[in-house]
Amino acid sequence: MDFGLSPEQELFAHSLRGYLSQHFPMQRVRTLMEAEHRADPERIEALSGQGLAGILVPTDCGGSGLALLDAVIAAVELGRAATPVSFHSAFVAAPYLLSQALPEPSMRGWLEAIAAGKSLLSFARLPAKASSGKWNGSASFVADAMVADAFVVASGDDSAPEFYLLPAATPGLSVEPLLNIDATRVLGDVSFEAVALPARSRLPIADPAGALRRVLDAGRIVLAADAFGAAERSLESAVEYSLLREQFGRLIGSFQAVKHMCAESYAELEPLRALLWYAAFAWDEELDDASYAATLLKSHCCEVATEVVANAVQVYGGMGFTYDCDVQIWFKRAGYDRQMWGGPSELRARAVEMARAGV
């Protein structure tokens, strides 16, 4: 019985926190936020140097071959630091699907490039199925759309998806930027106009419906971890502020209203750390309730995070509402995590179906 992080995992979290605070301090985060849709190979290389890009890439492809639980540890830190990277898409979804298609030899090269920080991939969902080798349609809200080197596309509906890998330069493929509130993760729309699909672009995945479910679960768990990190950091930051700021001749942190708001935030948020661990563990071990746990986790964690960051803004008072106060960055970060890959009520409706099916 050992439900917790190993010493190695704790060390990883600790060193990553140190690295991010040194190399991606909030001032640099702000600079990168302004750059938004410009490619930035230096950033990706720096993160891959910390093992983040190859965290799920098999060791024989140059990655660390770690578990989703390790990715969750990283995601919490990335959320805390608001590091500009679409971790759930570039370093979780894309490499996971490619590694599922490893029998196909061309995958190896892509996975090596991901792990080395040389290529940035993006995961996209396209409702339309490829017909007679020509593709039309568009994928919405695609992470890193403007800067990705290639797209791992899941097409068709959930029950029988097909997966393709398409370089950004594929003829007929075009991207257009979207602007979202959280400038640390960029989005775009990807359009397909009569895109021809060479046979080798298709990923040979044995259980495509299962792989889609697993990749969505993994992405949701990692988005929840990101929201958790953002919320945790904003709460810590609000508590710190409350111990410096005086009003009416007292530290605001000595007012019961402020104390209880922080205590409630903490009491709501902290148990989700254990649920994050469990959901990732259940995913890694492919336990029966893995999908149920991932679904419940994302819906609840993102709702709690929304409350926690809003409370943090309130503790900061007027300052919390300014652009200069970092709490706005976590506020928006958690807002992104909440809406992407399924909002709270949509996910709970899915969970009900699982519960009824007896998970």
């Binding site: 959280d182 009003q247 530290l251 309130q314 008072g317 007027g318 807002g335 809406q339 909002g343």
Partner: protein, 397 residues
């Protein structure tokens, strides 16, 4: 119980409608938020003042229309202009806060000098009350004004000053009597924004817009005659116009309008088919409806000259939270599209929902945080004791 206005007022309503029909092409297009400073708007404001649809109770000798106070007429004007989607003129702090203050506390000379250009939009003001250190504890302000010859010399730092860059003048609270008790040492000064030593820095908000500014005073000289009221009377002078009666129904009207737009978003996104989002919409509909009739109840009390008591204290607390929650629902209904912001492809309503969502959170904080309002509701409304005051304890050891 009578929800009609009666024939006299319906006639007044008809007059407004006729006016609107005749003059509406002269009005600039209506905008959200504070009315902008444009020549077209100033012209329109002049027409409104002349017809008594703006600043109607300002006496004629100061450039106004000189009508008697009539809350219902004010409300009917608002209703009709809103219904017709015609700008109701300039909504500036100069008009809503400074002019009533001058009328009550200003000298004859001050009234003659400032009121007319202000109500006609020719003289723009900003407000200098809040300070970074003072926050919710407004009376703890530290910006000092020391007499030197014929001037006050002002040093300090104001914050949350909207329209500071557009304004020619500021009405400010400053500390003139440092030895007096907190509330007794404050004076109300009018300060030219061109003064040497005065510096403005825009304050960018979470929403990405710079709706506010910081204003720094470094030995700024202000003529002694620019004081309103007496030295040390500033708290009384400034506090008298902190509450705008004009906005009594504004808050719940705004919530009603937001809820309607939110329902439209839900409808367009198919979110009314999602029973959970639809359920939340109905919760918000119930709260909005309650606040609507609560406001009518407050209005009735006001018309009858009765104090609404504790019930009057909850409007702001509830309103901001309600609006914030309405925005949250609209964002949820849009799914992934809910995170798009102004200027993006495919963004709905020009990103309004996210920016209002943040802005309303700012309002929950601004002008007396929710925490302070709950203190007031419990103390003034429910008669519970004040927090014990112990400046020394509870601070960091």
């Amino acid at each position: 119980m009578d929800l009609s206005y009666g024939p006299g007022y319906e006639q007044f309503r008809n007059e407004i409608r006729r006016f609107l029909e005749e003059h509406r092409e002269q009005a600039p297009p209506p905008r959200l938020g504070l009315a902008e400073n444009s020549a077209a708007m100033r012209r329109w404001q002049g027409i409104l003042v002349d017809h008594g649809y703006a600043c109607r109770t300002v006496p004629k000798n100061y450039g106004g229309y000189g009508a008697e106070e009539d809350l219902l007429k004010t409300i009917i004007i608002g209703e009709e202009f809103r219904k017709a989607s015609v700008s109701a003129g300039i909504a500036s702090q100069g008009i809503s806060m400074l002019v009533p203050t001058l009328l009550r506390y200003g000298s004859e000379e001050q009234k003659r000098e400032y009121i007319e250009p202000t109500i006609r939009g020719e003289l723009i003001w900003c407000q200098g009350y809040s300070e970074p250190e003072a926050g919710s504890d407004l009376a703890g302000l530290k910006t000092s004004a020391v007499v030197d010859g014929d001037d006050f010399v002002v040093n300090g730092h104001k914050i949350w000053t909207s329209t500071a860059r557009e304004a020619r003048m500021m009405f400010a609270l400053v500390r003139t009597e440092p030895e007096a008790s907190k509330h007794k040492g404050i004076s109300y000064l009018l300060i030219s924004m061109d003064s040497p030593g005065l510096e403005i820095r825009p304050l960018k908000m979470m929403t990405g817009h710079a709706g506010f500014n910081e204003v720094f005073f470094n030995d700024v000289r202000v003529p002694k005659r620019n004081i309103i009221g007496r030295r040390g009377q500033g708290w009384e002078v400034g506090k008298a116009t902190l509450v705008h009666e004009r906005n009594m129904l504004g808050a719940s009207d705004h919530s009603m309008t937001m809820l309607q737009s939110c329902m439209k978003v839900l409808d367009d996104c198919g979110a009314l088919d999602d029973p959970l989002l639809a359920d939340q919409a109905m919760k918000l509909a119930a709260r909005t409806m309650a606040m609507k009739y609560h406001s009518l109840r407050m209005l009735t009390d006001k018309l009858k000259g009765r104090s609404p008591g504790a019930a009057g204290l909850i409007t702001k607390l509830n309103g901001c939270q309600l609006n914030h929650d309405i925005c949250k629902l609209a964002i949820d209904a849009m799914g992934e599209g809910g995170i798009l912001r102004e200027g993006s492809r495919r963004v709905r309503d020009r990103g309004r929902w996210q920016s209002e969502y943040m802005f309303q959170l700012g309002l929950i904080i601004g002008g007396g945080t929710a925490q302070i309002q709950k203190n007031i509701i419990s103390e003034v409304g429910l008669g519970m004791p004040r927090e014990p005051k112990t400046p020394q304890r509870g601070t960091r050891e």
